[in-house]
């Protein structure tokens, strides 16, 4: 008797100790989930002002994406009205890192694609209207997963009622476990001879979600039951229900698990949860039982049947009228295709935000809750970038179904990262080619060779003849390397400018070898390539694997006129009190003098006018000056284009993930994606850099000689002063030649 008593005491102590242990585990889990409010990520706010180029259709679409309601008369914040070219927008107040922006009622008038007038609705002057920014996701800075958290009060009317009716009718009465439910489920399952009904309460399901694995052992069941009771002791029913709404597993999207009704609503319906209809709410509630079995995209009929069952339960319980249930049952599922969902999510861009959070901020600061991350993502450009990629690949993939692509768009002058495309499928989560794909870059490195040359004006100018003849050099690996031109022909001698314009391989190799590989490599690094570059001659023709983001860094330096700058996804991070977090210092650094960079930019403009990039002007306005370079690798494995306008820089890549050949050159593939983007958004011309070291001189480029402007084939070419040709082409009139010689000598005395 005393032995049994002792054993009993011992057992009790053990159970208590074990419960205490489980208690700490479960409360820790719960607190972790409950308080981990994700950092909210925002796109760049839309700024409206007179002179801004914007398609009014695009403004309307963007307002809707930001949840602005289209109304007849805008009377509340968050609404707008439109009549023809005139919008009245009642903007929302918003607290930006640089201060509060108040709510305004503004009148915006368009003429074509330009805002021609912007005023407060009362007629007073308004130079600028900054709208509240579009939220583009949430990040848990610690784990870098995303979730859309909701409060219980934000749940649609029938969600919690339906959940309880279907999953746990006695939720508000039980203590975490419900013996009657278990008994009922047991009997039902016995009768059916299989698992039909679960007896788990919502609390138990929540506890189950805290575990990563899904084993079904008795120990686990017992642990879950104890933990459920413990949770109920610590927290109110509403707190548990709220955690459940945000935690429950509702689907899978590649590597990404869809947790919580907030995210699921976006994932299945591309809509915020609070806007869901009864039918859609019922569908989500139905999925809870088995997200893969009732996957509405894979098994639409099964999911619909389940939805209607949920609706019937709601009618039977008297929660919703029979008439409304009957009407809802007739509705289609409303599930959107993956593509549609994904246009509202920007995982490729968010990847870059996470990367820069890790690199530029102190990890300690990121653990505080309620952070707000302001990014440079331009929601309109991001959408067009993805659209240009998706649509172009759709045309090209008839020949090559596995064809993939990536794109990076930045602001040409500042390095702000405006858009990232990591896959041909919009919103696809997984391999992000813009950052992760390492591909041979081909001719994209040629500008580095010619920039090295142009920095030596005494030896090289744009019209200096360079050799385009067969060359055989030691490959640095014990053999020899003999590059060929794309068309197999050698042209003997061509001007440096023409060598770049037509991307002649032999001319690039000859020039690069003459300059010395070390010097060219140095230029590549100064341009902003931080990856290791092999010191083999073949690097001159791009035999190195880099990502589209690496190429964007390099071309950013050229687009900005010689300034190396980091590509920035994050504009600012502020804490819950609105204080900006400290960021590791990043700075813009002058890497090149403007004069040689201007010459290179001029030649890259020629690439677009008459060289390998000329295809762009099939669809771009001829008056817009753009600059760029194509890249094609061996056997057409990679199709690249990197180019810029006055305001935008974009790098595009197309290829197969398994590195098999495509049938595309840089011009027939990647350039088409680039052009498609640039023709859909307002672009400005590349402006020449002004430098007192540059002068424009009339020459005949083929002969590298001075010419009269009346000479046939004469053009104005920029030269670094003092490096222009001395000799006169035979077409030049002797008098002019003499006059010029005289002025030249006068000037020389004063230098």
């Amino acid at each position: 008797m005393s032995f049994l008593f002792k054993l009993g005491i011992c057992g009790l102590v053990l159970v208590l100790a074990y419960s205490a242990y489980l208690d700490s585990v479960v409360t820790q889990k719960f607190e972790g989930k409950k308080w981990a409010i994700p950092a909210q990520v925002y796109a760049r706010p839309l700024e409206l002002y007179e002179g801004r180029l914007l398609n009014p259709k695009e403004l309307q679409a963007q307002l809707k994406r930001q949840g602005y309601q289209a109304v007849r008369t805008a009377r509340r914040t968050g609404t707008f009205s439109r009549s023809g070219n005139t919008f009245v927008i009642y903007s929302r107040a918003f607290h930006f890192p640089d201060g509060a922006e108040m709510s305004r009622k503004a009148k915006v008038v368009f003429a074509g694609n330009e805002i021609v007038s912007l005023n407060n609705a009362d007629g007073s002057a308004l130079p600028l209207l900054r709208l509240d920014p579009q939220p583009v996701g949430g990040i848990y800075p610690a784990s870098y997963e995303d979730r859309i958290l909701i409060r219980l009060s934000q749940a649609p009317k029938y969600l919690t009622k339906a959940l309880m009716a279907v999953e746990d009718q006695r939720f508000y009465d039980h203590w975490g476990i419900s013996p009657t439910s278990i008994a009922r489920a047991f009997i039902v399952n016995m009768m059916a001879g299989g698992l039909v009904q679960g007896g788990s309460t919502l609390t138990q399901q929540l506890v189950k979600n805290f575990y990563l694995t899904n084993e079904r052992t008795l120990t686990r069941k017992i642990n879950e039951a104890i933990m459920s009771v413990l949770l109920e002791v610590h927290y109110s029913k509403d707190e548990i229900l709220e955690a459940y709404l945000n935690e429950v597993y509702l689907g899978q999207h590649g590597r990404r698990a869809i947790h919580g009704f907030g995210l699921a609503s976006q994932f299945y319906f591309a809509q915020p949860l609070k806007e869901l209809s009864l039918a859609k709410t019922a569908l989500l509630v139905g999925i809870v039982k088995g997200p893969s079995y009732y996957n509405p995209r894979r098994f639409p009929e099964r999911a619909m049947e389940r939805r209607n069952l949920v609706l019937d339960v709601l009618a039977a319980e008297g929660i919703v009228s029979q008439a409304e249930v009957d009407r809802s049952k007739k509705l289609p599922s409303g599930v959107v295709t993956r593509e549609q969902v994904n246009t509202s999510a920007y995982p490729a861009y968010i990847d870059m935000v996470k990367k820069q959070l890790r690199e530029d901020y102190d990890e300690k600061d990121l653990t505080s809750e309620g952070l707000r991350i302001f990014t440079n993502m331009d929601p309109i450009i991001q959408r067009y970038a993805q659209k240009s990629m998706t649509e172009t690949v759709q045309i090209l993939e008839t020949k090559d179904p596995a064809l993939q692509g990536a794109m990076v768009v930045t602001s040409a002058q500042t390095g702000d990262l405006l858009a990232v495309v990591g896959d041909k499928r919009p919103g696809y989560v997984g391999f992000n080619r813009a950052i992760e794909a390492q591909r041979q870059v081909g001719s994209l490195l040629k500008p580095a060779i010619y920039l090295t040359a142009l920095e030596q004006p005494a030896r090289f100018t744009l019209t200096t003849p360079v050799k385009d003849s067969p060359i055989k050099v030691k490959d640095g690996k014990g053999g020899f390397w003999e590059p060929q031109n794309y068309d197999g022909k050698s042209r003997g001698e061509v001007s440096l400018q023409k060598a770049l314009t037509h991307s002649y391989n032999q001319a690039a190799t000859q020039t690069g070898m003459a300059l010395g590989i070390d010097n060219v490599l140095k230029t590549m690094r100064r341009l902003g390539i931080n990856k290791p570059l092999p010191k083999y001659p073949s690097i001159l023709l791009g035999a190195v694997s880099l990502s589209p983001m690496d190429i964007a860094s390099m071309y950013q330096t050229i687009a900005s006129g010689g300034y190396q700058m980091p590509i920035r996804a994050i504009e600012a991070v502020v804490d819950a009190k609105g204080q900006p977090l400290k960021r590791y210092n990043i700075s813009v650094k002058k890497a090149f003098e403007p004069a040689p960079v201007e010459l290179l930019r001029n030649a890259m403009g020629q690439v677009m006018r008459e060289g390998t990039g000329r295809r762009a002007y099939w669809s771009l306005d001829k008056n817009i000056q753009v600059a760029g370079k194509t890249g094609t690798t061996n056997d057409l494995r990679d199709s690249w284009f990197a180019g810029f306008t006055g305001n935008l820089l974009a790098v595009t890549w197309l290829g197969n993930d398994d590195n098999s050949p495509t049938s595309l050159t840089g011009s027939s593939g990647a350039l088409r994606v680039w052009t498609k983007l640039m023709q859909q958004i307002p672009v400005s011309s590349v402006k020449s850099l002004s430098s007192n070291r540059i002068e424009y001189v009339w020459v005949k480029p083929e002969t590298h000689k001075l010419a009269d402007m009346t000479c046939e084939g004469a053009v104005q070419v920029p030269y670094i002063i003092g490096s222009e040709p001395r000799e006169f082409d035979e077409c030049t009139s002797p008098a002019r030649a003499k006059a010029r010689t005289f002025f030249d000598s006068v000037r020389k005395w004063f230098e």
Binding site: E47, G99, D416, S688, W749
Partner: protein, 128 residues
Amino acid sequence: MTKIIISIGFSLLLAGCAGTGQPLSSSEAVIPAEEPTSPYEGRQDALGALLNQAVKALESGELSSASSWLSRAMRVEPTDPAIYYYLAKLRMEQGNVAEARELAGRAMSLAPDQALRDKLNDFLGLSG
């Protein structure tokens, strides 16, 4: 020989220009060291309004606010040299001379008008 004659001629000419220019500028030039108000006061266009705010913030020493106004201005007009000039002044206030000079250099490469060019030359001269 011709060289020498011509160069002397030029030198005289230059000296002459300078000579006649001097009295004029000295009578007119009461140039204050700091411009008292923003040259963008009252501007109703987006760039002007943002620069006006930036200049005011800069003058009253609110550097982080000035920086925000200038970044917004840069988004509106990324190649306006005046923005880079004020950014240069901002960096100078923050004690970052090297970056200030680079920004002024960048402003110079963006085709500033004569007035701004003069300011930039002064700035580069002072910071040199």
